[in-house]
């Protein structure tokens, strides 16, 4: 544990960049997946394509993905952008499915009723479909955020600073404390972000607590 005390700056530095490398792909992936999921929910053929492409993307081994990117899209070899792009792709792959499920979860009766009240197409999408897909979108976002935090560490093998460094460096020096610190911080970071998402969900979706019952009642 003395090691931690001696290296707080190093650890905090890795933690800070780990936070950024986790949040940016999660947010980007979420935003990109929304229109894709919405579209996929509209057009069954698109949904099929989105789901299978998502499957393929998700099976690309993360290390290979991060390492190959510079050769494919011309980013720098040490550029954190490689990780951001790779993890954004994973995030979109997972999130698009959730987004499509989320929009599908909106009760057709409610949509019909909103249309009948005189909502136009845009109003319907933004003011009815989007908020009602909220609970499923949140569930997806939670999965994406947790797995992104955990995946960022692989980037250490490609020379990008983050908590994963504590694993790669700890191995060379046989430093169990260092590796453990890394694991604990990664898990803690994931749980903190998850908690924040849950709190944000409560604030933004105050109606969702018992909403399942409504749908159950209608069906």
């Amino acid at each position: 544990m003395r090691w931690i005390g001696n290296n707080t700056d190093l650890i905090l530095g890795y933690l800070a960049s780990h936070v950024w490398l986790s949040i940016v792909p999660t947010v980007l992936g979420f935003l990109l997946a929304l229109p894709i999921g919405w579209w996929a929910n509209r057009v069954p053929a698109v949904r099929g394509v989105v789901l299978s492409v998502g499957n393929v993307l998700y099976t690309i081994p993360s290390l290979a993905f991060i390492l190959i990117l510079p050769g494919v899209i011309g980013t720098g070899f040490l550029d954190p952008l490689n990780i951001v792009i790779a993890l954004t792709v994973y995030a979109v792959a997972v999130m698009a499915r959730f987004a499509s499920d989320g929009f599908a979860s909106v009760s057709p009766a409610v949509l019909d009723s909103a249309r009948a009240s005189g909502f136009g197409a845009a109003g319907l999408a933004l003011r009815v479909e989007l908020p009602l897909a909220g609970p499923v979108l949140l569930a997806g976002l939670r999965v994406v955020s947790v797995s992104t935090v955990s995946l960022v560490s692989v980037g250490a093998l490609a020379g990008v600073d983050n908590l994963g460094r504590l694993f790669t460096e700890g191995v060379f020096t046989g430093n169990t404390a260092e590796i453990l610190t890394g694991i604990v911080l990664v898990v803690a970071l994931a749980l903190v972000l998850d908690l924040l998402l849950v709190i944000a969900g409560r604030a933004l979706l105050p109606w969702s607590a018992g909403a399942r019952r409504v749908r159950g009642g209608v069906a």
């Binding site: 009766a109 409610v110 009723s113 009948a116 009240s117 005189g118 909502f119 109606w207 018992g210 209608v218």
Partner: protein, 270 residues
């Protein structure tokens, strides 16, 4: 006045839900479409606010073909109460009631005022204003649905089996409430149900529909009971098998009305 002129609807699958349907619905009265499941009641109802477009014929409101009107505006101008309320689960009761007003650009304060007023009109405690739909009972949800449909003070109110999902006791209450409201407001109501008792209770004019949206009989409840047009109507209203044939038995000095199956249905008076 709403008028159907040889209206037909064939859905994309080739399913002819309605064919060559004619009807005049007088203003300020309640017309009830009644028929068994799938006979085309909802299809006919939704043609009025263009939620369904007829494939042939026309629907006219006060002699104007609805096809010539902007659907979004048309819908905002007509009250529509759906089966199982169709409330927006992510909006409070008050916001649900005020939805159309807000869409029409009415100010927030004015919307609030009118929504609260409407809640009172339909017999909803205004203390419920900030609840979400799932926090209400089935009957309360239906009242919110009615309030929402009435908030813009539309001339026409479409009601599609609005009381189908609530339990019989609450349903009785809601029916009584609707009768009271209609006495006060005098809207043109088009009401859909598959319950012949409900149709007879609410309808000034009852339209009995057979499969494919065919008019089996149109008339007042008493007319239909007194002179059913054919066997289909007779069976539908329960006049066959003696279902509506009542007789009187005396029990403990009380005149009990009993049906053909021996079921006690009421007490004779006067």
């Amino acid at each position: 006045m709403i008028e159907y002129r040889s209206v037909g609807k064939t859905f994309s699958g080739g399913n002819a839900a309605v064919a060559d349907f004619d009807l005049v619905i007088p203003s300020h009265t309640t017309t009830v479409f009644v028929g068994s499941s799938g006979c085309g009641k909802t299809t006919l109802l939704r043609m009025v606010n263009r939620m369904v477009e007829p494939t042939s014929g026309q629907v006219l409101i006060d002699d104007v073909d609805v096809a010539s009107r902007n659907p979004v505006e048309l819908r905002r101008s007509i009250g529509y109460v759906m089966q199982a309320s169709g409330l927006l689960p992510h909006r409070s009761v008050l916001d649900n009631v005020g939805t159309v007003l807000r869409l029409q650009g009415v100010s927030r304060a004015e919307t609030r005022r009118r929504s609260l007023e409407l809640m009172e009109t339909v017999g909803l405690d205004t203390a419920l204003a900030d609840r979400y739909p799932h926090q209400l009972s089935g009957g309360q949800q239906q009242r919110v649905g009615v309030a929402r449909a009435l908030v813009t003070d539309p001339n026409i109110l479409l009601m599609d089996e609005p009381f189908g999902a609530v339990d019989p006791i609450v349903r009785d209450e809601l029916q009584a409430e609707l009768l009271r409201l209609q006495r006060e407001l005098g809207k043109t109501i088009v009401f859909v149900t598959h319950d012949i008792d409900e149709a007879f209770l609410l309808g000034d004019q009852v339209v009995i529909l057979a499969k494919g949206g065919q008019r089996a009989q149109v008339g007042t409840p008493a007319d239909i009971l007194a002179a059913p047009a054919n066997d289909f109507v007779r069976s539908f209203v329960g006049l066959d098998k003696g279902g509506r044939e009542l007789h009187v038995e005396e029990r403990d000095g009380v005149q009990v009305v009993v049906d053909a199956q021996g079921r006690a249905t009421g007490v004779l008076k006067g």
